[in-house]
Amino acid sequence: MTRILIEASNVQRRYRTGGTDVHALRGVSLRIHEGEFVAIVGASGSGKSTLLHLLGAVDAPDSGKVLFDGNDISGLTDAQATLLRLHRVGLVFQRFYLMPTLSALENVALPMAEAGVPTTERRTRAQQLLSFVGLGERASHRPTQLSGGEQQRVAVARALANKPALLLADEPTGELDAATGKALIELLQSLNADGLTCVLVTHDPALAQSARRVITMRDGQIVSDTPVAEHVVVPTAGDEQTANAASQPASQPASQPASQPVSQPASQSASHPSSPQPSSKSAATAPVEVTRRPSLTPADADAAFGAKE
């Protein structure tokens, strides 16, 4: 078993919105190990985004503890939490939230600039990350010149900029069509395969099956936490296997080789975020046996996402 990256213990979170108190989390406890790919699923208002924010030190719990790499992050000061997010957490949002007046390259370089990475180095690395997500040729494009899928890939590249230990994605496919969403999930799977711990929030149970573990939330509580038996190819709209995705081996994309079993999450030494040259990883032990696919190469990414929509 790999070490625990994140642990939440009896976390509670209330907030006030629209004049009413919302008890978003009611004593949530969970552990996420290094190298896991966890999907948090639930209806709107179930508390999944709030939980994601707590795991990423975007927010702090009212009570309970969140440990990140063994350290309690529940009581961090704003500056400490900011530093943690900058260096250890990558965030991807539903609405991409790229800076509209910056190029794709500048958007990716932004967190590196904040972290004090020298200009030349960050430009080089930003270019590498864009190439990694299949957008090497579109580095100078503004977000408005990119499709939704491309913008989200830029957002993923931005999230990877400072080589985070944890990637949090809040409804990353929410604004994408099914095919583009599928390609994005494949990108996340590839990153996870390279060792990056990923937590994906989605309201779509079918999409959640692309992870290795699915946590279901309802009314601020975890109602189920189950491993995914098979690594599932993300269903696209109209795919008949959607309903059975959780339980049956799904068909692989034409470009993908046959799946192979692994026993544990990819190790921390995997090369994904620190050096954006994708590589296949040796099998690792996971809480459950899953089927994994090899890393996404730039060529794969181009093929998967295709040209600008």
């Binding site: 907030y15 919105t17 985004s49 709030t50 924010h53 990423g56 975007v58 927010d59 704003d78 500056a79 900011t82 530093l83 997010r85 900058l86 260096h87 957490v89 965030l91 949002f93 539903q94 609405r95 939230y97 800076m99 509209p100 007046t101 910056l102 500048e106 370089a109 932004l110 967190p111 600039a113 904040e114 972290a115 931005r158 999230a159 400072n162 809040d170």
Partner: protein
């Protein structure tokens, strides 16, 4: 990167940004004009009074120079005693009067003739300000072309005139004019009359532009005026000996001489340049207050403009700013970026405003200099680099600080709440 982001934020709504910059430029132009106006007249007046190196002006008791037609008798004795004072270096007496001047053709011949009727000799007649001075020490005019009248003349035969007189009479240097004592040519009243030659053109420092003026030797004007001018002067300017760079002692010496004059000669008032400037400042207090109020208003307008624009921009970008914070941009970073936006607006507005202010100041100065009764060399708007830079720096600081409130709000943004609201919105 922060600068890039700040630029990018301003570029997002180019028209709005341009309008804000233009508004700020107008505020900056108004501020710089008001600063130039507030200090300009005083400095211009000081420069005018000190340009000829005379620190004291001696006038008939209770009057200002050429404020009235009053004159001082016993002028020769007064001037001699002033010149005898060890601390007085030079004395320039002058006598001012109004005369009628006619063009008498271009005969180039000199000489005088008394008692002639002006209507028979003049093609064009105009009244002019005539000033009797001692050409070797005078501080009333500077020669532009030709020469000053011969100093020793006690009979009116040569005059130096200004451009306005030349223009009125369509005369040139070398022409002959007929000068009559101040009686109305329209009423065909005869007076003492002289034929004079124009020896040169001069710029009269204290004469309003457009007012015809001429100058002749003091003795000649006194003789020409008969009893009204005999041994009389309107003004004597005195230069006090001074040590270069020792302003404090020089001022004290000037004040001592001024007191001596007033004590010794009961029929005169002695006014120092400093006193004159204080008197002018008192008279201009209204202008200065108005300038300061308008300047302060322009500052407020600038601050409000920047605050409004930056607040608007921040409110539109709450989600974006929350994401910046979420991906690891520190509070200070957001604060800096938003304040940079205010600073950039300020720099652009002030740069444009500086040019705009100088152009409008020049334009307004031209209009105000035509105001009747003011010396030609008096400026209303005078560029003072120090005052201008200080005021513009103040506006720049104000515009930067104007971004502080929205910047502080942005930096205090609750990231999770903003993201939640964005997701709902």
């Amino acid at each position: 990167m922060r600068l890039t982001l700040a630029f990018a934020a301003l570029r997002r709504h180019p028209m709005r940004t341009l309008l804000a910059i233009f508004g700020l430029a107008i505020a900056a132009a108004l501020l710089i004009d008001m600063v130039m106006l507030a200090t300009g007249m005083r400095e211009s007046f000081r420069s005018l009074l000190t340009s000829q190196g005379y620190e004291l002006r001696v006038t008939p008791r209770g009057t200002l120079p050429f404020d009235t037609e009053a004159t001082v008798g016993g002028a020769a004795e007064l001037v001699a005693e002033l010149r005898a004072h060890p601390d007085i270096e030079r004395v320039s007496p002058s006598l001012g009067t109004t005369v009628q001047v006619s063009s008498a053709g271009s005969s180039r011949s000199g000489g005088t003739s008394a008692g002639a009727d002006t209507s028979t000799t003049s093609a064009t007649t105009t009244s002019a300000f005539a000033l009797g001075t001692q050409p070797d020490v005078q501080g009333e005019y500077s020669v532009l072309t030709g020469r000053a009248p011969a100093a020793g003349d006690s009979v009116l035969r040569e005059v130096i005139v200004n451009g306005a007189l030349l223009q009125k009479l369509s005369a040139r240097v070398g022409d002959t004019l007929t000068v009559t004592t101040g009686r109305s040519a329209q009423l065909r009243m005869s007076g003492d009359q002289s034929m004079v030659i124009i020896t040169g053109e001069a710029r009269f420092l204290y004469v309003p532009p457009g007012l015809p003026a001429m100058s002749a030797p003091l003795a000649a004007v006194q003789t020409f005026l008969g009893d009204a001018g005999r041994d009389r002067i309107s003004l004597a300017m005195a230069s006090v000996r001074s040590a270069p760079g020792d302003n404090q002692n020089n001022s004290a010496r000037t004040e001592a001489v001024r007191e001596w004059i007033e004590t010794t000669f009961s029929r005169v008032t002695a006014i120092s340049t400093e006193t004159a400037i204080v008197q002018v400042e008192e008279r201009l207090a209204y202008f200065r207050q108005l300038a300061f109020i308008l300047g302060a208003l322009s500052l407020v307008i600038g601050v409000l403009l920047v605050t409004t624009l930056v607040s608007l921009s921040v409110n539109e970008r709450l989600g974006e700013l929350a994401v910046l914070r979420a991906i690891g941009v520190a509070r200070g970073g957001v604060l800096q970026q938003i304040m940079l936006e205010g600073l950039l607006l300020g720099v652009a507005g002030i740069t444009l405003g500086l040019g705009l202010g100088l152009i409008t100041a020049q334009w307004l100065n031209t209009i105000l200099r035509d105001f009747p009764g003011l010396p030609a060399d008096l400026d209303f708007f005078v560029w003072s680099a120090e005052a201008a830079w200080k005021s513009l720096a103040m506006l720049l600081v104000a515009s930067t600080l104007a971004g502080a409130w929205p910047a502080w709000r942005a930096s205090k943004l609750r990231v999770a709440q903003a993201l939640r609201e964005e997701a709902i919105g």
